[in-house]
Structures are given as structure tokens and as C-alpha cells.
């Protein structure tokens, strides 16, 4: 029987932009066990709710993550709106959907680039990030911020997108989609990419569900869970079906994200076409008194904001469960059997966001 050794992976590693640590127990080059540790950059943002008024906390929620920042603000705002029975105007719901899908686009393109880099495909990395820049340009044009948008607020949105800009965005979508499909073609059909990713880090449908996997990690294993199906924001009007793959390996998780890029482009196109006229927000009166588990589908999966108001301007509790935290147990189950050289690719395949996890 080969001798077992423990190899530390992270918290500093070339493929990890943020710190997470794994103790990898190896037999020769094969992983037999992985034990995760987090907490290197824990920020205590949940406790900050005691110091900030509920209207101000939108800004804090947005800063939980630099990639899905808009969706954290959206999840928090929707939770407060549910507690306070605030009806958000239609135009605000559509604008929220457009900015959410722009966030998903730039998150997935960022991940595709990092994933390509992780497998040593540098040109693909650069091409992915080049396309991501055009999404960030749209976010900057329409909100003023590339990463932190600051447009979502309780009761609606702060900024509008004018008809001229919407038409310009609509015109740009066809050539952008063509470029994304060319990029996706490499991820889905290139033989070296397939050879690197197929049958690697496999997790079955039953395991993914039982372990509470979220987002593309669950959908790559055939679990058709996508919170956009509940119709929040404008998803109910636009109609939506989750992208699902069944193989449960790194390739399947990659394929889900590639196809979700196409789905996001389609959702933005339809949201622009069906954009209603009307106000951007409603006035918020009073303070939240009650509780709600607000859920939104972020690029990495379902995020939960548990919000509890006590009738004052300061909430009694905000508890945030991010998708990466939910995807750590599936990651621990994916790694045994993988070669040490494949560990970076398997870890990246869940799209770990430690900033979110260390809220």
C-alpha cells in the first residue's frame, strides 16, 4: 500500500485569486481525501447590519462580492421589499434583470478565462477576458461602475437606461453573441479541452442534490435547480428554463456556464424588447418588521439572505448563505480519485468565490 502524505493546497496558489485552503491526502499522486479550511479573510459583514440602517445596508450587501455585487444588492432589496410589502415598478424589474444578466455574463466570462488559464490554455483565457471587457463597458455606461454598480435600491432602481442606449445595446447583442459562440465552440468542442475535463471531478446527480450543491455545480450533474424559475424580477414575464448537463464532470460544469452565457444574452435581448415604460422606484415608508428568506440565482448558484426586522431602522439579523459555501461539500466529494495535477482544475470547476464565502 502506498504511503500517505498530506500536501497543503492554498491559501496562496497560482489558480486561486482568493484564499481557501485544502489539506490533500495523497497516495502517490492520487487524492484520497480533501479537508477544506476557510476564514482567512472573514469580514463579519453580517454583524454590520447592527450599525447600518436597513436602507444603507444595500451598499454593504453589494460589497460582499466584486463579481455578483448587483445580485447581492438585489437579493437583499427583494427581501426587504417582501417584508414591507413593497411593489416594485415594472420598469425597475426589467432593469434589474438586465443588470443581473450582465453580471452573470461577466462572471461566467471571467470564470471561463480563469478556467482556461487553469488548464494552461492562455489564448483562450485572453479571449474570454477580452469579451468580458465589453460587458463591463456596458455596465460602466449604464450604471457608472464596472464592478460596484450602486443602482439597486429598496423599492426599485436609481438609474434608468435611455431608449437610445437600449437600442445600442440591442444592436450590439448579435455580434457579441457570435463572438461568444465562437469562444464557446472552443470550450465545448476542442479535443484537448475535452481530454482535460471529461470524467474529471465527477459528482452524480443524487450526490449533488444530497450535498446541497448550488448553481452550475448542481446543474452540471443534472439537478435542474435555478431560482430564476420562481420568476423574481422580470424572469416570470420573460420565461426561463435552466441549462442542465448530466455528466457531472468538469466538462459538464463548464458546458453549463458556456450555455448560460447564450441564455443570458437571450434574456437581455428580450428584456430590452419588452421594456415597459414607467417609474423607476416607489417611496419606502416605515421600517421592516418581520422576516424573510430571500433567494436569488447568482452566477455561482442560489444565494440566501435571511433578513429579520424588528420595526426599527436597524435590522435584528442579516444572515447570508452564499453559493460557494454550499459548494464546498460537493468539492470535498469531487476531489478523491483526482490526480494532484488536476486538483486546480477541479477546484476551479465550482467557481469558488471566497469573497462571498467570507462575508
Amino acid at each position: 500500500m502506498p504511503e500517505r502524505i498530506v500536501v497543503p493546497f492554498g491559501p496562496q496558489h497560482p489558480v486561486l485569486p482568493e484564499p481557501i485552503h485544502l489539506d490533500l491526502v495523497l497516495e502517490d499522486e492520487t487524492v484520497v481525501e480533501a479537508i477544506p479550511s476557510i476564514g482567512y479573510i472573514h469580514r463579519g459583514l453580517e454583524r454590520l447590519i447592527e450599525k447600518r440602517e436597513f436602507t444603507e445596508y444595500v451598499y454593504v450587501a453589494e460589497r460582499i462580492c466584486g463579481i455578483c455585487s448587483f445580485m447581492h444588492a438585489l437579493c437583499y432589496s427583494q427581501g426587504i421589499e417582501e417584508i414591507m410589502k413593497i411593489e416594485v415598478p415594472d420598469r425597475a424589474r426589467y432593469l434589474r434583470t438586465i443588470w443581473s444578466e450582465c453580471s452573470r455574463l461577466h462572471s461566467h466570462l471571467l470564470w471561463l478565462g480563469l478556467f482556461a488559464d487553469g488548464m494552461g490554455f492562455e489564448n483562450l483565457f485572453m479571449r474570454s477576458w477580452q469579451l468580458r471587457e465589453s460587458v463591463l463597458d456596458v455596465l460602466e455606461d449604464t450604471t457608472g461602475g464596472r464592478v460596484i454598480q450602486g443602482t439597486c435600491k429598496i423599492g426599485g432602481v436609481r438609474r434608468d437606461i435611455g431608449a437610445e442606449k437600449l437600442a445600442e445595446m440591442h444592436r450590439a447583442l448579435d455580434p457579441f453573441e457570435e463572438q461568444c459562440r465562437n469562444l464557446g465552440d472552443v470550450f465545448l468542442n476542442d479535443e484537448t479541452v475535452k481530454y482535460r475535463l471529461q470524467d474529471l471531478g465527477v459528482i452524480s446527480k443524487d450526490e449533488a442534490y444530497a450535498l446541497g450543491a448550488a448553481g452550475p455545480t448542481a446543474r452540471g450533474s443534472g439537478v435542474a435547480i435555478d431560482h430564476r424559475e420562481t420568476g423574481y424580477a422580470a424572469y416570470g414575464d420573460l420565461g426561463f428554463k435552466p441549462v442542465v448537463e448530466t455528466a457531472g464532470d468538469c466538462y459538464a460544469r463548464c458546458a453549463v456556464r458556456v450555455k448560460e452565457v447564450y441564455a443570458s444574452i437571450d434574456l437581455i435581448r428580450r428584456a430590452i424588447s419588452e421594456m415597459p415604460e414607467g417609474p423607476l422606484d416607489v417611496k419606502v415608508k416605515g421600517a421592516p418588521d418581520g422576516e424573510y428568506f430571500s433567494r436569488v440565482e447568482q452566477p455561482r448558484g442560489e444565494v440566501v439572505h435571511y433578513l429579520r426586522g424588528n420595526g426599527t431602522k436597524h435590522l435584528a439579523r442579516a444572515r447570508i448563505r452564499t453559493s460557494t459555501l454550499a459548494n464546498i461539500p460537493p468539492l470535498v466529494k469531487m476531489l478523491p480519485g483526482a490526480q494532484l495535477a488536476d486538483v486546480p482544475v477541479v477546484v476551479l470547476s465550482i467557481d469558488p468565490c471566497i469573497s462571498c464565502t467570507e462575508r
Binding site: 479537508i35 479550511s37 476557510i38 476564514g39 482567512y40 472573514h42 454583524r47 442534490y209 444530497a210 450535498l211 446541497g212 431560482h227 424559475e229 420562481t230 420568476g231 424572469y235 416570470g236 420565461g239 424573510y292 428568506f293 433567494r295 442560489e302 440566501v304 435571511y306 429579520r308 435584528a316 439579523r317 444572515r319 448563505r321 459555501l325 454550499a326 464546498i328 461539500p329 460537493p330 470535498v332 466529494k333
Partner: protein, 126 residues
């Protein structure tokens, strides 16, 4: 097609927790999260589950010294939430499948930094 989301919260006694959780697991529910709320002198622990966007929440209320049984034998992935619950709130959890004994959330402050009870923490895992 839009699916209507429903949320229900039911209180559960400590002695009934495992039976209720087993019932949900048998019924095909997935574990969404476990979270704590400090309600002044006691903690509310929310065990959240979902099946087809139907959200069920078991609410357990415990004192600061009460030991809570781990549900990681039923839901393997519960260890992340239970270690977090111990590290951030000082709630002792018995029988976690991967027990970090207070080092899951590594902080400069001695864990559990949210607990300021006189006499310090008496967690079993300490």
C-alpha cells in the same frame, strides 16, 4: 413556466430535531442552510430545506450552553454550517462528521468572537 415559491417555518424541540430532519431527508428535501440568530440570552437555529422551490424551515431555540446534535449524519454537507455555528456563535454541536474544533473560520480573534459570556466559552469542541 414560473414556479410559486412558498416558505413555511415551524418550531421544533431539541429532542424532535433529528426525527424531523430525517423526515425531510426521506421526503426528498435538500439542505439549503443552517443559520443562527442571537435573540438575547438564547439562539434561534434555522435549518432550511427546499424541494421544488418549496422552502421549509425548522426553527430550534436553544440556550447558550445547550449542546445541539449534528445533522451531518443525515445531510453530509451540513458540516460547513455546523462548524460555522460553533465558531461564530459558540453553540456546541455534537458529532459533526468533519469537526474543525473551532478552526473552520480562522480569525485573529479567539473564537467564538461573537460570544462574550462571563467565564468564557464552554463549548465541548474547545
Amino acid at each position: 413556466m414560473t414556479v410559486n415559491e412558498e416558505q413555511t417555518t415551524i418550531g421544533v424541540a431539541l429532542e424532535d430535531l433529528m426525527r424531523e430532519v430525517e423526515g425531510l431527508q426521506t421526503g426528498g428535501y435538500r439542505l439549503v442552510q443552517i443559520g443562527c440568530t442571537d435573540i438575547g440570552g438564547a439562539y434561534e437555529v434555522n435549518y432550511s430545506f427546499d424541494k421544488g422551490y418549496q422552502f421549509r424551515n425548522l426553527r430550534l431555540t436553544v440556550g447558550p450552553e445547550t449542546e445541539v446534535p449534528s445533522i451531518s449524519g443525515i445531510y453530509w454537507g451540513a458540516f460547513v454550517y455546523e462548524n460555522e455555528m460553533h465558531d461564530l456563535f459558540g453553540i456546541p454541536v455534537a458529532g459533526i462528521n468533519i469537526d474543525f474544533k473551532g478552526t473552520f473560520i480562522k480569525t485573529a480573534e479567539k473564537y467564538p468572537f461573537s460570544v462574550t459570556r462571563r467565564g468564557g466559552d464552554r463549548c465541548r469542541n474547545a
